[in-house]
């Protein structure tokens, strides 16, 4: 002990560093620093929660908010005291209910409500889960509200509800479709099986037999169409269809369809009108011919099917850098509320119609999806009982430039106003078809001479030097087409002779060329092919 006295004495006098730490000040400083860091840690936690935290005095006046709440309410942390909780509730909230909840919270109960809150100064609304409880804050009773934003959840919920009803509708449509399909398939199948059973019976006349066969064929074709439709819609649905763009003359395409549908229209006693509002060369665009054909086919088919009297008119124009093809009818029309769903799969404006008119209700869906594939769309203007107009809109991708179009106009003027054409064809139906093609292609600018055998053809050429063009069937009586062509070329070497035949073998083609034919077209002649030939030999 004694030896430590000097050390003790020094400590008691307290001049060493040891005695400093016994002062409050370093301790206080440390405490202050600790409290400051605790406070800043709490603030960090306060501000990093994903929920908004709002601290109110007992009158609802805001005392403090965290970062998330500041974002949600769009108020600055420095100006919180200008606001009260009531400022953020939607105007339609039940304030007396809120007031009684508030009273309960002040008594110490915890409350959770769901409500809509309006953001300060904006139109933005939030759906929030609002948990309120009483707490102690700087020596005062306060209400702490935790705001959990579930706007996104509500959005998802709504989307789910829509998706669910869509799925249900789609399911309903599919069921409907299956019912239709069985009916649709059954009807032609009945025809096929029924008449196939009868066709071999010995006791029926030749006339009936041939009738039965034609019914079987018709039914078979109808079945085929149904199956094609189903395959196509499923391919479209599976997005397995590609676009194959080539040069297509839309007007020629429409003319071709005119040729196909005129008969049907006449059968139903309605007029079919094709209107051309654009120069022929302007109609040459890049698109997928097959798909476009399919679209217009569908629309025409529907228009004729659903029109009982009046007319079906179609045509094309170019507007706003878009090709607009329209199909207008005076048929039963489509009610406004049904106008959207008729483009959906398996739907038909009137379910009952299916029975009366037939069809799967796939046509418009196929048309629409094809139009979308082509970068276009289909639009409908219609009123029930007043008829409908379908507009097919396609991107206008012209093959020739504007300058060429202008130049072309000049040439057209200089062209001959009337051509004399010789058609050598022994079958009436074929002749009628060819005449129609000329009508479509050349309007009134032609005169047709018609002969039915090779000899007459040679004779008429001798007698009529104004003949501009010969369309020669190769299989004709007396002298055949090859010989006739040879003879005509002897007289008129420059007269274009186009061979046409159902037998488009290599040999036939070579034979025709040797005989002097300028070109060879296979039957049945498509309007497109026909147009090319006409343009090649007559427009030059």
């Amino acid at each position: 002990m004694e030896e430590n006295w000097e050390k003790y004495k020094q400590k008691i006098m307290g001049l060493g560093d040891e005695s400093f730490k016994k002062s409050y000040y370093p301790e206080l400083q440390a405490k202050i620093a600790e409290l400051e860091s605790v406070n800043s840690n709490l603030q960090t936690i306060f501000d990093s929660t994903s929920d908004g935290i709002v601290i109110h005095d007992k009158f609802g006046k805001i005392l403090s908010i965290n970062k998330k709440a500041s974002e949600m309410l769009n108020i600055n942390k420095d100006s919180v005291t200008d606001f009260s909780i009531a400022d953020f509730f939607a105007k339609d909230i039940n304030f007396s209910e809120l007031y009684s909840i508030w009273e309960e919270v002040l008594k110490g109960k915890t409350f959770s409500i769901e409500s809509t809150i309006n953001q300060n100064d904006t139109q933005k609304q939030f759906f929030v889960h609002l948990a309120m409880n009483r707490a102690f804050w700087y020596g005062k009773d306060v209400v702490v509200a935790i705001l959990s934003d579930f706007t996104q959840r509500i959005k998802y919920e709504n989307e789910l509800i829509i998706a669910k009803s869509k799925a249900e509708e789609s399911d309903r449509l599919k069921t409907e479709f299956l019912r239709n399909i069985s009916h649709e398939i059954r009807t032609p199948m009945n025809g096929i099986i029924g008449f196939a059973n009868l066709v071999n019976r010995p006791d029926i006349s030749e006339k009936d037999r041939s009738n039965f066969v034609s019914i079987i064929l018709k039914s078979g074709n109808r079945l085929m169409r149904i199956i094609d439709d189903i395959l196509e819609i499923s391919k479209l649905g599976a997005k397995q269809v590609g676009v194959d763009e080539t040069q297509v003359n839309i007007f020629d395409l429409l003319s071709e369809l005119y040729g196909i549908y005129i008969e049907k229209a006449q059968e139903r006693g309605i007029e079919l009108l094709l209107k051309k509002e654009v120069a022929t060369k302007k109609c040459l665009i890049y698109t997928d011919r097959q798909k476009l054909m399919r679209i217009i086919n569908n629309l025409l088919e529907n228009a004729i099917r659903f029109t009982h009297e009046g007319y079906v008119e179609f045509g094309c124009g170019i507007k706003n850098n878009q090709v607009e093809i329209y199909v207008k009818d005076t048929g039963i029309g489509v009610e406004l509320e049904k106008q959207k769903i008729i483009f959906e799969r398996f739907s038909q404006a009137e379910k009952g119609l299916t029975r009366k008119i037939g069809g799967l209700g796939l046509g418009l869906a196929i048309a629409k999806e094809n139009a979308l594939l082509l970068g276009g769309d289909i639009r409908l203007e219609s009123e029930a009982e007043e008829g409908s107009t379908f507009f097919v809109l396609l991107p206008y991708k012209p093959v020739i430039s504007q300058d060429e179009i202008e130049a072309m106009k000049q040439v057209e003027v200089a062209k001959k106003d009337k051509y004399t054409i010789l058609v050598v064809e022994d079958e009436d139906e074929n002749y009628f078809y060819i005449e129609t093609l000329f009508k479509i292609k050349l309007k009134h600018q032609y005169q047709i001479l018609h002969v039915e055998n090779g000899l007459e053809a040679v004779e008429i050429c001798k007698a009529n030097p104004e003949i501009d063009f010969v369309l020669m069937d190769l299989k004709i009586p007396i002298i055949d087409g090859y010989e006739a062509a040879e003879k005509i070329k002897e007289i008129r070497p420059d007269l274009p002779i186009i061979a046409q035949s159902a037998y488009a073998s290599k040999d036939n083609k070579a034979h025709a060329a040797i005989a002097g034919c300028n070109d060879f077209i296979a039957k049945p002649i498509s309007l497109e092919t026909f147009s090319k030939i006409i343009e090649k030999y007559l427009s030059e």
Binding site: M1, E2, W5, K9, I12, M13, L15, K21, K22, Y24
Partner: protein, 390 residues
């Protein structure tokens, strides 16, 4: 006039609390507590004081100012370590944050002990010695009631190690209270014997601080003034216990002596007195009164100049006398004073027998107060002094 002596240039420091001195200053206690941030006050006192009128004044002012408090009065003279631990439990339970100690040295020392435990989280026995605290105690306000121990201004706390029967000395600058409120009115309820013992305690503080080897000019100033005030007023005060001037002078003496010994520390009177108080639970002031003349005798040769200065202060006219004569005059003075204040006792009367002396000396030699005694004692020296004081 040019001064003809040199002052001490060796480095010293002086630590003192803020203090308020004067009539009715006790009413300030509550507002000082509040100023120091009191939320709940740990009010330490003893059963005697809690019955005085002026203590009720303090309670009333606490109520007026609206600060809560918890009263703790289970403190005995020579406060015990277990009392400290019990108090600290209450302090924690009641979530107090400030200590108001109203009482004598026992109450204030015990309150200091409680303060240590509540901020350092260990048993009070772990803090025996110098600078053993790692955290300061809570804010502390004192209203001293004895004009003796002066724990209210000192860096000392004396706690009885009850199991081992000795007084632990705890010294730290952190044990200096924040505020001391010195109201002479509180002394009016003191009995005469306690007044005498306290006075002798003050005198021994002043003697030991003045002769301490850690003394300084400013300690000396206070110590000598304390000696002068005791010399002039203690006996008078005992004759006129209701004279507020005399009570106030005793209080001032205690304050001065307290400031002096807090900074210069003490000596063998206290090391031995602590040993006696711990072992036999004797009154501290009484022990000091008995021991002081014997320690002066032992120390005189080591601090002759200082003792001569004391003799001058006591108007013992030392000039012309030799050292031995002066020493004797001083010792006689102390005996006479002890008698004059009616402390007519010695260690034998107090129950000390010669077989206890080795134990008492062993305990005393370990006391840190020896460190500043002008003559470094050996255990044997302390045995001799104990024997002389029998």
């Amino acid at each position: 006039m040019v001064e003809n002596y040199d002052i001490q240039l060796e480095m010293r420091k002086f630590v003192a609390p803020e203090f308020i001195f004067g009539i009715d200053s006790r009413f300030k206690a509550a507002s000082y507590c509040k100023k120091l941030g009191a939320r709940k006050i740990f009010l330490a006192t003893d059963s005697q004081i809690s019955k005085t009128f002026w203590f009720l004044d303090i309670l009333a002012s606490l109520q007026t100012i609206g600060v809560e408090y918890t009263l703790f009065s289970a403190i005995s003279p020579n406060p015990r370590d277990f009392e400290v631990m019990a108090g600290s439990e209450i302090y924690k339970q009641e979530k107090c944050n400030l200590i108001l100690a109203v009482g004598g040295g026992s109450v204030i020392d015990c309150a200091k002990g409680i303060g240590i435990v509540v901020t350092n989280f260990q048993h009070i026995r772990n803090f025996e010695g110098i600078d053993m605290l790692s955290s300061p105690i809570p804010p502390m306000v004192c209203v001293p009631s004895t004009a003796g121990a002066s724990s209210d201004v000192s860096q000392f706390a004396i706690i009885n190690n009850f199991e081992n029967k000795y007084k632990m000395v705890l010294i730290s600058k952190a044990l200096v209270p924040d505020v001391s409120i010195l109201d002479p009115i509180v002394l009016t309820t003191k009995d005469l014997y306690l007044t005498a013992c306290s006075g002798m305690d003050v005198l021994s503080h002043a003697f030991e601080a003045y002769t301490s080897n850690a003394a300084s000019e400013f300690n000396d100033l206070h110590a000598l003034e304390a000696i002068r005030l005791i010399d002039n007023n203690l006996v008078l005060n005992l004759k006129n216990p209701n004279n507020l001037q005399l009570r106030a002078k005793m209080m001032l003496a205690s304050l001065y002596a307290g400031l002096a010994f807090s900074n210069a520390s003490l000596g063998c009177v206290h090391s031995m007195s602590h040993s006696l108080g711990g072992f036999l639970d004797l009154s501290h002031g009484e022990c000091n009164a008995i021991l002081l003349p014997h320690v002066v005798d032992f120390n005189f040769s080591a601090a002759t100049d200082k003792y001569i200065k004391i003799a001058e202060t006591l108007n013992l006219n030392p000039s012309g006398l030799n050292n031995n004569q002066i020493k004797q005059k001083l010792i006689d003075y102390l005996y006479n004073l002890k008698e004059a204040v009616n402390i007519n006792t010695n260690l034998k009367i107090k129950g000390v027998s010669s077989d206890l002396i080795p134990t008492l000396a062993s305990n005393a030699i370990n006391d840190p107060c020896n460190a500043t005694n002008p003559r470094p004692p050996k255990k044997k020296d302390l045995e001799t002094i104990f024997t002389q004081a029998m």
